[in-house]
Subunit: 309 residues, 4 copies
Amino acid sequence: MPDLTSVVQEIAEEMRERPDRGEVATYIPELARADPKAFGLVVIDADGQVAAAGDSDVPFSIQSISKVFTLTLALGMVGDRLWRRVGREPSGSPFNSIVQLEYERGIPRNPFINAGAIAVTDLILSRHQPREALGEILRFMQFLAQDSSIAIDEAVAASELRTGFRNAALANFMKAHGVIDNPVEYTLGVYFHHCAIAMTCRQLAEAGRFLAHSGRNPSTGHLVVQPERARRINAVMLTCGHYDGSGEFAFRVGLPGKSGVGGGILAVAPGRASIAVWSPGLDASGNSHLGRIALERLTKRLGWSIFGQ
Amino acid sequence: MPDLTSVVQEIAEEMRERPDRGEVATYIPELARADPKAFGLVVIDADGQVAAAGDSDVPFSIQSISKVFTLTLALGMVGDRLWRRVGREPSGSPFNSIVQLEYERGIPRNPFINAGAIAVTDLILSRHQPREALGEILRFMQFLAQDSSIAIDEAVAASELRTGFRNAALANFMKAHGVIDNPVEYTLGVYFHHCAIAMTCRQLAEAGRFLAHSGRNPSTGHLVVQPERARRINAVMLTCGHYDGSGEFAFRVGLPGKSGVGGGILAVAPGRASIAVWSPGLDASGNSHLGRIALERLTKRLGWSIFGQ
Amino acid sequence: MPDLTSVVQEIAEEMRERPDRGEVATYIPELARADPKAFGLVVIDADGQVAAAGDSDVPFSIQSISKVFTLTLALGMVGDRLWRRVGREPSGSPFNSIVQLEYERGIPRNPFINAGAIAVTDLILSRHQPREALGEILRFMQFLAQDSSIAIDEAVAASELRTGFRNAALANFMKAHGVIDNPVEYTLGVYFHHCAIAMTCRQLAEAGRFLAHSGRNPSTGHLVVQPERARRINAVMLTCGHYDGSGEFAFRVGLPGKSGVGGGILAVAPGRASIAVWSPGLDASGNSHLGRIALERLTKRLGWSIFGQ
Amino acid sequence: MPDLTSVVQEIAEEMRERPDRGEVATYIPELARADPKAFGLVVIDADGQVAAAGDSDVPFSIQSISKVFTLTLALGMVGDRLWRRVGREPSGSPFNSIVQLEYERGIPRNPFINAGAIAVTDLILSRHQPREALGEILRFMQFLAQDSSIAIDEAVAASELRTGFRNAALANFMKAHGVIDNPVEYTLGVYFHHCAIAMTCRQLAEAGRFLAHSGRNPSTGHLVVQPERARRINAVMLTCGHYDGSGEFAFRVGLPGKSGVGGGILAVAPGRASIAVWSPGLDASGNSHLGRIALERLTKRLGWSIFGQ
């Protein structure tokens, strides 16, 4: 077995030199400022050993990666009743498609497409006022990452509030079908804000550790969710975590993961490690181009694919 | 860790008593004759130890499970060029949908929906005459299962040839887009025949062992495919193996698997075991109702989910 | 040729007695109060002779019939540039479908489905402040109907503002594609208000006369639009005026027409007459059930179909 | 009113000089041989006066125009029961789309898209052996056109039989839904052959006269269909006669019409005339480019639009 730290260093160097870096997302104006040369990679193993390389301490907008954590939080609040509002099948469509919603009466396919994550946010909001709901989500991230400095990037949230018409279309469409309970602007407000949480690779890898270890952070001993729930969240990440590129990610990387248009990916090697990678350039499916390549090399060199040695 | 044999026996008994048995498929008339009370389960571990229960030696029509093996065979023939003809993303649609084909210029989403498997069959046929192609597929199954008695159920093949209009629509549609090279009736003939292969749970579990063990049958030592290819086939099974119920299967069972409308499911626990289950009654997504429940219990009791303990 | 007045009386009586009256629309709560027994019919011929029967002077919510007039107004403002924002093909879909918008990059199929009418309203709004735009639309209706008492039913407008989430989804979706220029809430506000204009059959038939007579009201002599434009608006009404029931209306009635969910229909017999009918109960396609039947009988008895004697 | 003969001559000359001639269809190889410079126009008025210009006596493949006549024939055989198998709404889709069939359980939207015409052909075939059915269709065309020399172009029929995979997909899909009664190859064989009938503009205009004159050829006095049926066929032509360009044709030309990919268009001016035009180059919707422009000029100059003067 190769040494974890050297594999991580090696891959970061390989990535640094590549000319192909994907395209930085421009549809949220604030995200377009990201440096396409940035690359960070952090792996935290079962013992808590951290292997980090590149821009591992630069905060970036986690965007859709937040959907994993809002799903976890909402499942804790309402349990499996959540699945009456949101499915758990791959959508076979881009992240922001509305076609599926019309054919399936406003029930989003899964919690990791935008519509599904908005519906999950709405469930959290049903227990709280908007400001409190957002506070709860942020505190949950700080707790998981063991870092109270994690904050929302208000410029990104404001940018998306001004331009998020497609998400407003999705939310209004679900509202018309009774899948959203709260006023659309409240639900969208909380949604845009939790997508705008900024984290570093280090913080993100730490926050994802409970998913790699049967629901418990092995260092703190905190039980976040029951083992079965952790497995199931991992399963949904594997089948649905990369929009219309989920099959490709499973095929190449072989780990449950969730990407965001900010260029981050959280990946989980069950029993082994929590992994966060960041590079702002995206591929055609909206997933980090170098992030995915880095993870493919990592699992191959370490033999970590869940699909076999 | 509970004893494998007793877990298998236990589950078979639990299944025997359940009143809910799903609905036997009727769209291929010959399949409608299957006994809804039948249930078989076989697990073969890395050491070659066989745990069997129920109707483990009764042959049934493997139907779409054959798609795993024709994919393996075709990848061996044409390599990764295969992926120019067939995608590897979940379809988000039922097994026989034609809508996706129109939107995506005749390229099927993945090799496990009908259209994709027909395109794969056509690739095999491009190297052979129809009769030889079918012979090659059958011999491959006999070789994998180490059992030369495996045969095609001609009555099932004839039944589907008479009624398979929807598959003929898919094949003609792909032919119109240049995705099928051979005469449609040849390709469909070979496709219907390999779906009509009859196997027992014991034979099927044996045939699937290379997928559980990095491409090699650990008892015979035969290398069927390279390790990476085995992992990738497993990945496609996980994301696409159960049509529009693939997410649900991953969520509940947590293993790569492939179902057939004959009521069989082949599942793979990487590094651990190859598993075959059979019960003819299907759920709404066309997957074996009790087969899925049995696998869910098996992975839970043995801690075999690929998504964590 | 039978006498116009007696044909109109006759049909009104036949309709009064029918037990099948369709279903009053409930999705806008305020509309649900309409009396399912109401029925009004007014025909105004080329000489200005008025044949009226039933509830011909009871105001009702014209709803989507307003789309004919906002289209006329917008064409007068921006000319054929309007067709860059809106198509003129039948949609093959229900009035509020969003699927087509996704496949066609936010360009609505025609100006008579909701999305198309919202885009047309947005064009009017680009020349005016919201309050003025609405005033202009209302004054245009008063001018056409020669009746300054025509007003907006504020309760209906408010009811739709509170519940029109599906229209908000359409508007936001088009905004995301750059098809809507103004703030979504302004455009929707004007749209909901012009749909809430209340008119009687008599007023509506008068307002539609320019369409029957080459763009000119033959009594006042006012030229509203050029003859070619009048013909073209009639053509769009024929192919697209009844949502997914447009083919059926052409097949049975044989006249250009536009229906509204308030139960009104405006129909045009070119060169002959302008016709308004009202009965609140709707058929499965959302068009007035008795209104359509009454028009079918009218054109048959008078030989007015544009498709031949 | 301008003189009919001089208008027809004038338009033919204008068309002769235009450089934009559309694209000759290539998907049926045999059709690709047509001369893009060809242009013919024939108008036969109520008195039987014939105005002809250009290549009015050159036979061309009528292709989908035959659908008008098979619809007429099938309605005569089975009456309005036909509408249980085929709808009469515009499809909002290209001529050969299969998506709509899947969403609507194999029932084609209207008799003028390929699927609908295949279903209509199948109804005719249910009364006859294939050879007789084809003979009946051909004799019906000869009778209507008063010309027994009309024949099938066997080279075109053979060409389409070899390449018509998309139509085979449509037919098999309908067969799977029970919408096709006869063996698919019989139905397709008759369909491809009636599409391959070759006619001149003169023959076609003569054959369409019953549609312009309440179901009766005013010269022969033959009643082909009842007046109401003639009106209804005209209505379906107007809303569905030009595939996804039907709205555009109604908007610009203002007459019921049916186009074929051979470049012909039959148009009907109710009470006035039957019109046939031919020019092989097609526009993006698959309709004759110059044919449509010629008809637009004709109706404008003669004031023949059904939507008003």
